[in-house]
Symmetry: C2
Subunit: 405 residues, 2 copies
């Protein structure tokens, strides 16, 4: 970290000072100076591992090899990163671990470190001086899975004060390898809604953030998780994470119980929605109920809502939906629910497809395919972002104002 | 992990099978088989670090040296551990990190791994089939610190349904190096209250869990945190955590801003309590207000409540209070508030001192000193536990039923 004191050179050059200094990421634990982000979006890392032979920062699919100083501290500065939230891990002599200098976030099937590159347009997901809702941790028992589950429920500002008001509900799902905490920790869904509601851009609503993993009693959830993780790591030619299960035999990797998507849908309809409607002041009926998710959660949302148009009138897929990988026939997909475009358009008030521009053309192609088949849909692009949380914060910020109109 | 299949030997020996197998800790990420806990409370660990020279599990102040297998997996089994929650870290060639096989918990100033040794008496902090309250994430602005703060608020079951009921409030603080999440993640305060309320052992109450770190604008919070961490690690003769600040010069370590305790108290009275009483249905007056904390949070609670008997009628210190280290004169301490025992006893409905039996005699001595000075107090011991979360779960379980009677 190069800290240059320019003050004696006068004010014109004082501006230069900003670009020569890095600032600790907002996600660092209190007092930790690294990761440290430069104004040009390079990120400096530092790791203490005095006895190690090789230390790397693993970031966005790339390894950044660190250099050992005489003091046993390893350092590296990355090339400029995209604005927004980034997971990373470190590799210490082949052991892949989180950096304890930052808060930990569950993503990719384990706890990762992360940093934020300041976003000049990030006010919409920041805590501002507006009325704030709450994120409530809610335990409930699921008959379908035979286990206690935890979800988080966002209630809008003044929910308690408006004791007779009933609110519409958005069911909002995380992606593969994340959990029910993702949307309010990595995603800041609560602050996005607070800010939209304060500006009257979105209707006050309840947002239910559950865990999309739901496994029937006896089905092998652990194996599913572990295999998925191993499969990913194997493809990237890195060793399995610390403590992970041994690698499965070839061909077994990424096996998923056949009923996996169905079990969540069954659980949601039998257990989650009734619990929500019993516990919170929810407006009744399909026109007050939306479902959306990111990545695998978007796939889950399309599977669920397109099978139950009697229950859902709004549907969003953020970097994941249905049909983005080709071979999608709107006449037959999802049991033919899209085959009569006019009838479908009448029922589905908003069909939203969001994607980062760095994620490829699949979602745009899917949107065009739907449009050509007469299916109304909204296509939203997040400029310059990939399969990452800034894409999904932007998607939610664009999607939520369209709901319950 | 020795897995022995005894089934052909008949049922008498089937019982033996249980003690020969370990079970994954309940805190492991989905699918991770390690840490794995044996019935005799030994804990097996496994770490993948194929290129490392020396790998250790750091647990309860001890290092457990791991052995490298031919597959690059390092393993060790610890001696039997006390029941309950334990933080641990791993050292990979001198780099001290969390094990990504478990959930991450903020403690000791950074994110740690942890495991649970099953507690035969642990039903009181488990999710049972009883009405559940909520833990609500609440943002609020503090004028004293000039910043947005986050606290968590437990509301009892049926808080929303009983729209006219007002509830007493317990302000409950975490310890050094932890944060506002400690009591409901490591401590299960919400489940403890749910279960006590369901059995009618405790009165329904609101519990406010805030961050005891409060720093006035311009004061050096980061330095305080970093130095405290470094000082601790230096004393234990281990390198600083990854990403931590460089070691301070001798004599600077563990420097704490002089007004640190006072700033939290000022913030609590000026910002937190008014926000809580404005936002939630709180019963008015000192007899409906309690304060307690663990370790440094107990010290903070004693500093705050003994200075403001006009505001608090119940006070608890769990492994931390005041005077446990000697030199305490009840005639003069805390501005003499204890000097008139009869007057004090009339105002303070419950003065609670809890400690683990493995923590030394300081708290018992302090309790005796108070008793000899005529100050009513309750002394509670957690059998066989040290400065750890099982002590504090038990303290809360004993303390909460005594409140608001």
């Amino acid at each position: 970290m190069r800290i240059v004191v320019w003050t004696i050179l006068g004010c014109a050059l004082c501006l230069g000072q900003e670009t020569d200094q890095c600032k600790p990421s907002s996600l660092n634990i209190p007092g930790a100076p690294y990761p440290c982000v430069y104004a040009d979006r390079r990120v400096a890392f530092r790791v203490a591992a005095p006895g190690a032979q090789k230390v790397q920062v693993r970031l966005g699919g790339q390894g950044h090899i660190m250099t050992r100083g005489a003091d046993g501290l390893w350092t590296v500065t990355s090339p400029p990163q995209v604005i927004g939230f980034h997971y990373y891990t470190i590799s210490v002599d082949g052991g892949i671990v989180a950096d304890p200098a930052t808060q930990s976030f569950f993503g990719g099937g384990w706890y990762n470190s992360a940093f934020e590159v300041p976003d000049p347009d990030g006010a919409y997901y920041s805590a501002k001086d507006v009325p704030h809702g709450e994120v409530r941790q809610r335990w409930y028992y699921s008959k379908v899975t035979g286990a206690w589950r935890r979800c988080y429920v966002y209630t809008p500002p003044d929910y308690d004060a408006n004791a007779r008001t009933r609110y519409p509900v958005l069911y909002l799902l995380h992606g593969w390898g994340e959990n029910e905490q993702g949307w309010h920790t990595q995603g800041h869904a609560d602050l996005i809604l607070d800010n939209l509601i304060a500006e009257k851009k979105a209707k006050p609503m309840i947002v239910v953030m559950d865990n999309l993993n739901a496994v029937a009693p006896g089905a092998d959830a652990g194996l599913y998780h572990a295999r998925s993780i191993i499969a990913r790591r194997t493809l990237a030619d890195v060793p399995p994470p610390i403590g992970a299960a041994p690698r499965p035999a070839p061909g077994q990797a990424a096996a998923r119980p056949a009923n996996w998507f169905n079990t969540f849908t069954e659980m949601m309809i039998a257990d989650l929605i009734p619990m929500v409607e019993r516990t919170y002041r929810v407006a009744p009926g399909r026109e007050h109920r939306a479902m959306a998710g990111l990545s695998m959660g978007g796939m889950q949302s399309f599977q669920t809502a397109l099978a139950r148009l009697d229950m859902f009138a709004y549907l969003g897929g953020f970097s994941g939906s249905s049909g983005g990988r080709g071979g999608f026939d709107p006449k037959t997909a999802h049991n033919g629910v899209l085959s009569d475009a006019a009838a479908f358009n009448k029922k589905m008030k908003v069909l939203f497809l969001g994607i980062g521009t760095a994620e490829g053309p699949g979602t745009k192609n899917f949107s065009d395919l739907l449009t050509n088949a007469g299916i109304h849909n909204i296509y939203f692009e997040s400029d310059g972002t990939a399969h990452e949380w800034l894409t999904w914060r932007r998607c939610l910020n664009d999607f939520a104002p369209r709901l319950f109109r």
